[in-house]
């Protein structure tokens, strides 16, 4: 029965990683841009939500509003900063987006201070629920539920709508997509904004697992990039599988072999990447 608890813990952790990094996989797959500022967008959402909560907004309203706001910021940044970068090399992209991360860190430190910023979860989620054989924190079940719902919505959006079809076409072959009249530039902006919004939402609801502080953007960037890399760049299903798999491996490792847990996660990543260098479910274009 204990295994179920660990599985649930791993699932909840994996869901947070998935929600935050799914935007990154699409932007990296679609735009082929090395976006190291993804964590910064997530963090902006978290900090914005703490302000909204401070102003008396309920938790879910704050999470949604923060996601929308960061989506708008993301669109603006895409149009002004990212667009000129598409044709530059990867080095320029990495430097620019990494620099952007430092700017965001410095700005948030100035406004909010250096310490950790609490983002209290609502009382309704703060309790425990009886799940048959033991009690389990409601908040983690909520994370699992939200992650599953979002994954389902994304799957419907990408696999079942014409927007999704155009997006997939642009990921697989942007030149051909342009040739058949798809407005790839608009797709870029919308997708980028959506990815940023999801990252912000994930950072708000996952703040109890990945606490908010000015170095959030750098501290967890490696995690997000690992999810994208292991999942397969440009494939959101791959991110889903990778996030859950790594979430469970990490959690299970800490439970069973606490002394080795620091290495276990990265060990698993190395093995997975050796077996599938293009990720578990590579996008067609990356294969």
């Amino acid at each position: 029965m204990l295994d179920v608890t660990i599985l649930l813990d791993g699932l909840a952790y994996g869901m947070v990683l998935f929600i935050i990094s799914v935007g990154l996989t699409v932007t990296m797959g679609l735009m082929r841009i090395v976006n190291l500022a993804h964590g910064a967008f997530a963090m902006i959402g978290g900090y914005f939500a703490t302000m909204l909560l401070g102003a008396g907004l309920p938790f879910f309203a704050a999470a949604l509003l923060a996601a929308v706001a960061v989506g708008i910021v993301g669109a603006a940044v895409e149009l002004t900063i990212y667009r000129p970068l598409y044709r530059k090399g990867e080095l320029a992209q990495a430097l620019m987006t990494f620099g952007l991360t430092f700017v965001v860190i410095a700005a948030l430190t100035t406004v909010f201070g250096t310490g950790i910023k609490p983002l209290p979860i609502p009382p309704a989620l703060n309790g425990v629920i009886d799940i048959g054989f033991r009690t389990y924190p409601t908040y983690r079940l909520f994370l699992v539920a939200v992650g599953l719902v979002l994954a389902l919505l994304l799957w419907l959006l990408i696999d079942r709508t014409s927007f999704g079809a155009r997006l997939r076409a642009a990921v697989d072959n942007p030149r051909m997509a342009r040739a058949v009249g798809i407005d790839v530039n608009l797709l870029f902006t919308v997708t980028f904004a959506g990815g940023c919004a999801l990252a912000a939402f994930g950072s708000v609801i996952g703040a109890a697992l990945l606490p908010l502080e000015p170095y959030y953007a750098l501290r967890y960037l490696v995690l997000f990039l690992v999810i994208v890399g292991v999942g397969g760049i440009g494939n959101f299903k791959g991110s889903f599988v990778a996030a859950i798999l790594l979430g469970i491996i990490d959690t299970g490792g800490k439970f069973l072999l606490p002394q080795a847990s620091a290495y276990l996660f990265y060990g698993a990543v190395i093995i997975l990447l050796l077996l599938c260098p293009h990720g578990l479910l590579p996008a067609k274009s990356a294969a």
């Binding site: 310490g115 950790i116 697992l209 990945l210 502080e213 990490d250 800490k254 606490p258 847990s261």
Partner: protein
């Protein structure tokens, strides 16, 4: 003849005046600490406490202006700390050094400090060995064994039988683990397991599930401060508290962090050398001045009292020896010195140059809608057990 005498008198007067001017000098104090990056709060707390000290005691001693020169080491960076110490000693010509948040930074300047005979006050760097590394070091913070031993003794005395320790996987964590396990076992308790948690951990639930399975009476934790510590306490509250497992610690419940932990921290028992609510006039004026000068949410913590007491040592040395004391004069003067600090009575040990102070057992409680630590027992004038066990 008369004119000559007048001239001589004038000259003598002039020389006397010049001598007094010369003795009213500027004494530079170099403070090397972390003012940027994830640990910037340390430098900020040091600086604010120093400013409060200078407001309370004036910016000069017997006409000698005390000027504090700050340098940012950016975090645990021994090479940078060493370079800054060289710069402060050679170029800025400081009379005293202070600061040092991290042990490696303090260790890296030991040789220069010894060579320059520079009286140096360690504000934090709490690994036991630090003051041994230079005869010109004194320390006003604490050592990890000093506080850990007392919480372990308390647990053994208060019917805790079976305990699990969970410490962050780095050197200070091992110190805490070693001394807790040793002391608790000597008191007749049983340690079921000693878990070491990787420094980068954000989700503590799997470790705590492991603890829950073994059903100990209590869990002893040692965290690195900041986000991981908050996570450690929150996860305890949601997983272990309902099962009746108590939480013991040392620095984890400082009041500066308590608002971030929230009501989860209620009931945590810790041992520490400074409690913000300690009933002591110096502490009350320190807190009052901090809030009037830096905003109502300012809270003193271990770094504030350390910097405050460090300034006290420096002011006393300048009062005694004037603006240019030698290193041997200052250190000799400080050895065995006892005075009242905001944290309670403290003493610089005559032999080890380390601090001897009260250790308080505290419990987190709610007072006037705020979470605070409340002392329920005082262990007077505790020495660093490590040095007593390792004489040399």
């Amino acid at each position: 003849m008369k004119t000559l005498r007048l001239l001589a008198l004038c000259a003598a007067g002039l020389m006397w005046a010049m001598a007094t001017v010369a003795s009213a000098e500027t004494v530079k104090v170099g403070v090397i600490a972390t003012f940027s990056g994830p640990f910037a709060r340390w430098g900020e707390q040091f600086q604010q406490a120093i400013k409060v000290y200078q407001k309370q005691h004036g910016e000069s001693v017997n006409g000698n202006t005390i000027e504090v020169v700050y340098r940012d080491d950016g975090g645990p960076d021994p090479a940078r700390a060493k370079q800054l110490a060289e710069e402060l000693i050679l170029r800025e010509k400081v009379q005293f050094l202070g600061g040092f948040v991290f042990t490696p930074n303090a260790l890296s300047v030991a040789d220069i400090v010894t060579e320059a005979k520079m009286p140096t006050v360690i504000f934090n760097a709490s690994t036991a060995i630090v003051v041994r590394k230079s005869p010109y070091f004194v320390r006003v913070s604490q050592t990890i064994p000093q506080v850990t031993v007392e919480i372990a003794k308390w647990a053994a005395k208060n019917d805790f039988k079976r305990i699990i320790t969970a410490v962050t996987d780095y050197a200070p964590g091992y110190d805490a683990e070693t001394y807790f396990v040793k002391t608790f076992k000597a008191g007749g308790g049983e340690i079921l397991e000693s878990i070491r948690i990787p420094l980068a951990t954000t989700d503590f639930s799997p470790f705590y599930e492991r603890v829950l399975q073994q059903k100990p009476d209590a869990l002893f934790i040692f965290g690195p401060g900041g986000p991981p510590t908050v996570g450690m306490i929150n996860t305890w509250a949601s997983r272990l508290k309902p099962a009746g497992i108590k939480l013991l610690g040392t620095a984890e419940t400082q009041e500066i962090d308590l608002p971030k932990v929230g009501p989860a921290a209620l009931g945590v028992v810790t041992a520490f050398h400074y409690t913000e609510t300690v009933d002591n006039p110096l502490n009350k004026t320190l807190w009052a001045d901090l809030t009037t000068m830096f905003g109502k949410n300012t809270v003193p913590d271990l770094s504030s009292v350390a910097a405050y007491d460090g300034m006290e040592l420096i002011y006393r040395a300048v009062a005694k020896f004037g603006p240019r004391p030698t290193g041997d004069q200052a250190i000799g003067f400080w050895r065995g010195m006892a005075f009242d600090s905001p944290r309670g009575p403290i003493k610089i040990d005559e032999k080890t140059r380390d601090i001897i102070q009260n250790v308080y057992l505290r419990k987190v409680e709610e007072r006037d809608g705020k979470l605070v630590n409340i002392n329920f027992e005082t262990i007077p004038m505790v020495r660093d057990p490590w040095k007593d066990e390792h004489p040399g």
